[in-house]
């Protein structure tokens, strides 16, 4: 730990003797699979994995393909595959290692995700032994680069409505894969434009005149020379907003025939004579089971987004702690920009949210691992996992975009330079908000789950049932499926001591406010939707639509509560007092930030008085001042090395430049060679006419950047 006085900057009204144990915090942030994360970070210190910003699109694509081969060589991407094929059957470790690739190049990460997390995973999760024996080795070794052909031009998040058909021909014992119209082209598929030689294609399975819904088929698409096989066609997606190291493209099929056994038949099979069979009777449940096996995409985007936010803040806070601009006080020193209250307000609450996202991600990953390892794999666990994914992935991906942008602006023009990473990461992560499920669609799904839980538990208008409902939405339940966290007190109790808010809201008060808001919002929407059961389907849909935005906001509140609880659990596990103190402030900043964001709701719904609400903002400002001396420690705790950051502005170069400039002026003053300022000079030469007509009277400095 370096000397706190060097890190605190000037003019700190509120000094603090507490310090965090950076190494301990790093361990906690790296979480359950810390060793795997460290191993992955060590691996990507090799420049061979880095994004080369000078490469144009085609060269970038080829570089990323080579990087994938390197990942195979390093055995960095096989942790989830069966041991029989050289994997480790370790799902949590697999995602943890995958997430860490984001610091190297998100294109590398997502192309690896396409190959092994989607294409390979579909063969593994939806196929059976025959398929595994036949294709997993080639998929794992990258001999078979493949595309995951789910999304269609006409249907994104609504996969059930995919229009591609797979019609069984019992004569030939083949499926005929067919694209009936332009909207049914498969779209945005990584590996489809150039490298893929096969694809897992989702299509409506039709046999004996019956449509059994969407199933997945293994379809070869290119020959050894890279040419499309007969009946297969496609296009290159060309330039995208980011991730241009991936060859996304479109595919279409004109009566392409594949063997019957290319149906990935774990959840649905067709006998040679065309008879359909499935271990899951309901077509709806079967569909969701198949899709549910692919939830890992959302788990890994959640983690990648959380850690990309960490990268952004490490860069912006390191720079903000060195950069000086304007001279606010006495003397000749310019002010370090992180000492400006506004700059703190821009970066520190986002730092708090980043911590919350990272801690929530680890709990999410533990849950995911328990389900996929079979350790805790009931229907309810699967459903909780899906809901968790749908709640957390939107929050963390939006947070990453917001944080990368604020960090970019906080670094000014330097933030816009590609070499400083922020704009590139933002461009690449942009699509995380809509792929693997559109964020708004996912949150609506969470909202519907909350409504259905509410309906189950709360038939009459009974406050106790409502409280039970609230408890059921907390992290203990959702992350672990057991061990209900007790609401410390009911919300009505909060009103008594005005001082409480002035000194901040304590943990149990924050929790009560956040949890109560979820309950109340869901209850409000449920009440308004109650007439729906008596309406026509169209009228009910219209009523639902009127409440759609509020339901989505309730889902967001639910996700925020889960993040807050994960953060709180992490803080409460800390032994070192100084560390716990500082991280409690950071958690308070997160909690109060949420309450401030939704302050109008708390006021309208009588949860906070105007006076107490008015104190929230002041307390947040105070928390920012308290945390400012710890800002650098808190971003150092992310554990990134220079090889992960690679941003010249976070390298110490800015401090060196500032020091050089200050030394120059100091030397000038010491030697008496400094020119006198005009205002201190006795004469002004010829003052001429006073053309004050055009002069501004602004007394403060300001300027332009050209």
């Amino acid at each position: 730990m370096t000397d706190i006085t060097n890190r605190a900057g000037a003019g700190q009204a509120e000094a603090s003797t507490a310090r965090i144990d950076v190494a301990d915090v790093t361990n906690r942030l790296l979480g359950t699979w810390a060793d795997v994360r460290r191993e992955a970070r060590e691996m990507v210190k090799d420049p061979a994995f880095w994004r080369d910003d000078e490469l144009a699109r085609d060269a970038h694509r080829e570089r990323v393909l080579e990087q994938l081969r390197l990942l195979v060589e390093k055995k960095a991407v096989h942790r989830a595959f069966p041991k029989a094929y050289g994997g480790q059957e370790n799902n949590g470790a697999n995602i943890a290692g995958f997430v860490e690739l984001v610091s190297a190049d998100p294109s590398l990460q997502i192309k690896a995700g396409v190959q092994w997390g989607l294409f390979g995973s579909a063969v593994q999760q939806l196929g059976t032994k025959e398929h595994h024996d036949k294709w997993l080795p080639g998929i794992m070794s990258l001999e078979i680069p493949g595309a995951f052909a789910m999304t269609e031009t006409g249907h994104g998040s609504d996969v059930a409505s995919a229009a591609t058909t797979a019609t069984y021909d019992p004569e030939a014992e083949e499926f005929v894969i067919h694209t009936p119209f332009r909207a049914a082209w498969k779209e945005y598929l990584g590996n489809a434009a150039v490298h893929g030689i096969a694809a897992t294609v989702f299509a409506q399975l039709i046999t004996n005149g019956v449509n059994h819904g969407v199933h997945c088929f293994y379809v070869p698409i290119r020959d050894a020379d890279g040419a499309f096989l007969p009946g297969v066609g496609g296009e290159d997606d060309g330039q995208k907003g980011g991730l241009n190291g991936i060859d996304n493209g479109r595919l279409h099929f004109t009566n392409v025939r594949i063997p019957r056994t290319n149906l990935l038949n774990k959840y649905g099979d067709v006998a040679p004579d065309g008879t359909y069979s499935s271990p899951i009777k309901s077509a709806g449940r079967r569909f969701f089971t198949m899709l549910g096996t692919l939830v890992q995409g959302r788990v890994s985007l959640d983690g990648s987004a959380a850690w990309a936010s960490a990268l952004a803040l490490k860069i912006a806070i390191t720079y903000g702690n060195e950069r000086r601009q304007f001279n606010a006080g006495e003397g000749t020193e310019e002010t370090v920009i992180l000492d400006y209250a506004r700059h703190q307000r821009r970066l520190l609450p986002r730092l708090a949210t980043t911590y919350a996202s990272i801690f929530a991600h680890d709990e999410f990953l533990v849950k995911f691992d328990a389900v996929f390892s079979g350790a805790a794999d009931t229907d309810e666990d699967r459903e909780d996992l899906e809901t968790l994914a749908a709640a957390l992935k939107p929050l963390s991906t939006w947070h990453a975009l917001d944080t990368l942008q604020e960090a970019r602006e906080a670094c000014g023009g330097a933030g816009f330079m590609f070499e400083n990473r922020l704009v590139g990461l933002r461009a690449d992560l942009d699509i995380y908000a809509t792929f693997e499920g559109d964020n708004n669609v996912l949150l609506q799904l969470v909202g519907k789950r909350l409504l259905s839980d509410f309906a189950k538990q709360f038939k009459g208008a009974d406050a106790a049932a409502l409280a039970r409902f609230a408890v059921g939405q907390t992290a203990g339940k959702v992350f672990h499926g057991a061990g209900l966290r007790q609401l410390g007190q009911t919300v009505g109790d909060l009103g008594s001591t005005a001082r409480a808010v002035e000194r901040g809201l304590r943990e149990d008060q924050q929790h009560a406010l956040l949890a109560d808001r979820v309950s109340q919002m869901v209850s409000d929407v449920a009440t308004r939707l109650r007439p729906a059961s008596k309406l026509s389907k169209t009228e009910a849909a219209a009523l639902f639509n009127e409440n759609q935005s509020e339901l989505i906001e309730a889902a967001r509140a639910h996700g925020e509560l889960l993040q807050w609880e994960a953060f709180t659990d992490a803080v409460n596990a800390i032994d070192d007092e100084g560390t716990r103190t500082v991280l409690t402030w950071l958690r308070d900043l997160f909690g109060l930030g949420l309450i401030e964001k939704h302050l109008a709701w708390y006021l309208i719904n009588g949860r906070l008085s105007a006076q107490r609400a008015g104190a929230v903002t002041a307390y947040i400002d105070r928390l920012c001042r308290r945390l400012r001396p710890h800002a650098l420690d808190l971003v150092d705790a992310f554990g990134y090395a220079p090889e992960h950051l690679r941003a010249p502005i976070a390298s110490g170069a800015e401090r060196a430049r500032q020091d050089e400039a200050r030394a120059y002026y100091a030397q000038q003053r010491a030697s008496g060679t400094a020119p006198i300022l005009e205002k201190h000079a006795g004469t002004h030469g010829h003052a001429g006419t006073h053309a004050g007509k055009h002069a501004s009277t602004h007394a403060e400095k300001h300027g332009l950047q050209g």
Copy 2:
């Protein structure tokens, strides 16, 4: 006008017979220099001006340089220059035409801005006849491509602290331009990396041992072969987050000698013997006068950002009006996504803000033109113009980034494709938030102006003085410098009728709430800063710092009020009743959106009761439903042609694809060839074991995008 029923989408609860006169609204949006805008838009229909997304950086740079030559040919960029040199001396028209280049390629726009708006403008505004004669013709013809060397690595928005020196040598009658250390390199300069052969360099003018502050010098930097002249060095900025068609770079100078007469000497001169003279006595006033001549950069960014938001919404709303996804009601039709309440909530309030920004921009431009034409050019006018620029440019540039991003997400994966424009425009406009003055720094400047106005008018604690202050901050005053708008009523009067909010807040109520908030916030900050006069400079700075964020928020509120007033003035000028009705709804959506955004403030400060505040959100939802049938008209009114949009998703292709798909299914149903859905089929084949263990019970559709 097309048939409203085609445009309204399904399931509109609130139909409307009012229609807008699209052509009339277009005229009003195009504003005072509509003819120039139309001319510019007509010009950029030529594909020669379009961004070619396939070009890598170097080729893009060369294309943009060629496009600049084309602009010269078309006489599209000389409207502000003196008639004597072939210009029109028409400042407003010049900016209006310039703003419209944004739809062609922001790189083209900003490189043109560097050449003629910054480099050329510095020579024109800061130089005198000798300089004009010598360089303006070459600058106008692009024979002299040049850089505007103001920003340094170590100093962005704080131009007064620039460290480059220009020391006069009376022996040689030359200035010596020198970069004393690395932080003083000139940075982020368009034209510096490759094309520039000269630069207008801002440096501390030192003569006879006295530093007279920052002045501007004309410095040749490259020879005929493109090599740096002796003593000049530099680097290429390389890849940036956007605007990669511009060759930004760094420059440094090692004792580079230029003739004495290369000082652009309108506001400060040095005689051969080294005597300094200036028509402006105060060094501070002189500095601000020089910078003030360059305010047009902010004017044009404001307009460009507003119109880029319009482009984004034209694309996203056209697409949202055709795209179908999920089937919410009865029958087989999927729902048009703009019929979803959430989708409306995402796009329509941003449409309202875009209208407000465009109307405010036109008033701003009128003010700018009056000052620069000399028609209304007092000290106070200049100061108002600076404040207006500092208030509006941050709001419109942030709004553009927010809108481009929301539009991109609202278009899903298609929004991420470069061809659909949204990601490219967002990347290019990113830097608008920090160049020509960092947005936060600019807003702080506005805040300080508000405080200083407040201090002037409000010495005692007198409510009448406070009301006068409020009136002084309204658009009538700030845009036009005269004609005070009357506050319709004091804010305390609003409380009486609960119905008022349920039916929305009327125009005068919206105005009172918005204006009162500005006054109160400034008054609050001023009260808290009052002790500063008795404190040391450092203590006073700390006190100011504690209030920095709230002051910036007050400045934002001031800018929002100006936008609201500009929008309201525009609406009230409309004759056609249907048009006025619909635009009043849109203005209400803007006004109520601002009130909702700041609802906690209104509650805490007793301006709205909880009950009335609770009705604001419901009313906004209702306004969205009302406006939904007019959404397409409202974006059509932006007046863009397909050549400006160029986004395949806004071309009608989506509708054609949807129609084709629906026709396919209709034909299948009609012919009886459609496969039966499994749930309607009598048999289910072999149901197998019921492995419901893995089945989700979610009843709604959802999915993944791969």
